[in-house]
Subunit: 401 residues, 2 copies
């Protein structure tokens, strides 16, 4: 018997309990041993709930119980979650989590702690919800040099952008709708400002490239400035606007960035809509691949967490995780990163813009009194300098062919 | 040092050698030990080739060399490939392969042989080329009951159907083009008649559901009857025609089938074009997911094979594969399987068709003198009986919403 404790009985934690209880035969068969839910840690009580009898309010019940082999951390944050995870690993218990803040901030340290104690720290659910992506990067795409990872890894912003595209709404209206439908939080900054995908691309880059990435070093732009008119232009170009978290190997280092982009139908990311997520991976041998699925939600995320529980159960007492180096991944400074840009200007500034962005391709204006262009590849600092010369109505990075 | 022998120096085998040699640092780091190419078995010589010095013409050189830990079988077929694989496993060497014929025909036996000798038999590259799908099913989606697997798992037919869609060609012309471009073989029956995807969906079903599937029991229909007019109708319906290899859990057992279907843009499979492959997986907790990438080609397939080599190197002396039961998976007899059907009839037969397929929805005819319908869900035997009453010009199964 393998005993599991779940810490935090919120959206994901309750999903984990449901998967372990409802699919116990499947989970136990795959784990090679009976998987038993022994504790659920929460400050609340849950009378009448399936977890009622195993609820504890004291982490020490879990820590000091030698029968607990696996701890699931679905508390979120970097306070108690860090303290409890660290203590559990030091006690030789394996831990898995859906907590990307914690992994992005303390992942390397916790992986090392796990290794020192012959335990494991797994976090498949921290990126892309239910989508298997971390384990495939660790155990399948192992003959390739990875050249690029680009993800739509935030369901809230993808839902908002999809709604804007389908209904012609402005951002504020779409955000309110997302909040009303439970797809955005009351305090949605972590999503709409891109902080959440920033942490996820940091984690994915560390795994893919084997060196440390500080998410504070990643240029991050959210979707709050995208307007209904921008979407109109995107459609007229046969494109969609997507918040991409991307990490690309270049001659000068790695360009990691979170920002909205125009994406065309030749990209498999173009048709990733609503709350779905997808991670595009390019290997030097494999070529293009993509992993698609539910990026959030209680049960899909729990599915990934329980996948980790099964893996932990199969590897009790053996360390299996690839650990990245403490050395920092060499990043291209944001100013030096190269992008193409879609820009809208007032018709009066058309000549000026054409001169400033020499070689830019003019595209059809779909708002009266405007002109629009897509520039060739240019450095971010060059673009910023030009925008000082020519006032632009809006600009969005472009991956259109 | 881990010593590897590659058997068969054709398209995939030469790719495997290239990945092992060109990415040796990455491969060795991921394997945790230096990966050394010790032999390449082929009947030919390759003067001036990177493999020249390790070529052998005698399988016994590999079999009798105790230093060879891992054997890569990229010979194809079920003759010598079977004999050599079996002998290597019996000698305690681990084997990996891209050979779906062999896995579909002898997979269970070879997995058991591997287990008896503390070795492993891996075949990630047998389904979906470079796409990681078998390992994710084995090691990631382990908390779910899998409810459906539907794949576009044959690049040749997907390329032909994509060409027909883009250029309005008829099947014969598109096939000739595919042959000229190297995307179809001179004897293309295994692809265009669906035999290849049939073997792949058998393997994927065995892994997902844990019971044996004889590919001879799977109803298999190719794409040879699809015409330019069918494609015209598909487009008018906003749909694409895709050769789907599908395996769906129903109340009455598993419906496994290979056949062309109308697929709409609400399906993530709709935008899988050209030689790309994708496998859609639905779990009871995970919901919808999809794995997308290069389904064929020397290097993408080799990437998957070398992923297996790394996994084998990490697990020498330990059996890691989940083995399915000898007991057969209960299949729904083809006659009892339920589908919707798109049908074209002569305008003169319109009333008759409307009466026979009561409840079918009429759709716009795009060929003069015709009428067209999409039926509701009906049993294959019922549909076959109706087609005896009403002569149809063509019929294609439909997954349109």
């Amino acid at each position: 018997m393998v005993n599991v404790a779940v810490m935090g009985y919120g959206t994901v934690g309750s999903g984990v309990v449901k998967v372990i209880l409802d699919n116990n035969d499947i989970v136990s068969k795959n784990a090679g041993d009976k998987v038993n839910l022994k504790y659920v840690l929460d400050i609340r009580d849950f009378p009448g709930d399936p977890a009622e009898k195993v609820i504890t309010h004291d982490f020490n019940d879990i820590l000091n119980d030698p029968e607990v082999d696996i701890v699931v951390e679905t508390m979120g944050g970097t306070g108690a979650a860090y303290k409890f995870t660290k203590a559990a690993l030091e006690a030789g218990k394996s831990v898995c989590t859906s907590n990307k803040e914690l992994v992005a901030a303390y992942g390397l340290e916790l992986l090392q702690t796990a290794k020192e104690h012959n335990a494991n720290y797994l976090f498949e659910a921290s990126c892309g919800g239910g989508i298997p992506i971390i384990r495939p990067l660790m155990t399948s795409i192992t003959g390739d040099e990875i050249l690029e990872i680009t993800g739509i890894v935030n369901g809230t912003t993808n839902y908002i952008l999809t709604q804007m595209g389908e209904c012609g709404m402005d951002f504020d209206e779409a955000l309110k709708g997302a909040q009303a439908n439970g797809f955005a939080e009351l305090h949605p900054e972590a999503d709409i400002e891109g902080y959440d995908p920033c942490r996820k691309i940091a984690i994915l880059s560390e795994i893919a490239y084997g060196k440390a990435v500080d998410y504070n070093d990643i240029y991050t732009e959210g979707i709050t400035k995208i307007t209904a008119d921008d979407i109109k232009y995107a459609k007229s170009l046969g494109a969609a606007i997507k918040l991409l978290a991307s990490s690309v190997k270049t001659d000068k280092g790695y360009e990691i960035m979170v920002a909205p982009y125009l994406v065309g139908p030749e990209s498999p990311l173009y048709s990733v809509n609503g709350v779905f997520n997808a991670v595009f991976v390019k290997g030097d041998m494999l070529g293009d691949s993509m992993f698609y699925g539910s990026g959030a939600g209680s049960l899909p995320t729990a599915s990934a967490v329980v996948g980790d529980v099964v893996d932990l159960a199969k590897h009790l007492g053996t360390n299996i995780m690839k650990i990245w180096d403490e050395e920092k991944l060499p990043l291209v400074p944001h100013d030096e990163a190269v992008n193409c840009f879609f820009i809208r200007v007032n018709e009066a500034d058309k000549e000026k813009a054409a001169a400033a962005f020499a070689g830019a391709k003019e595209v059809k204006a779909v708002v009266d009194g405007e002109a629009a262009f897509i520039t060739g590849p240019m450095k971010e600092c060059e673009f910023a300098a030009k925008v000082n010369e020519v006032p632009v109505i809006s600009c969005i990075r472009s991956r259109l062919a």
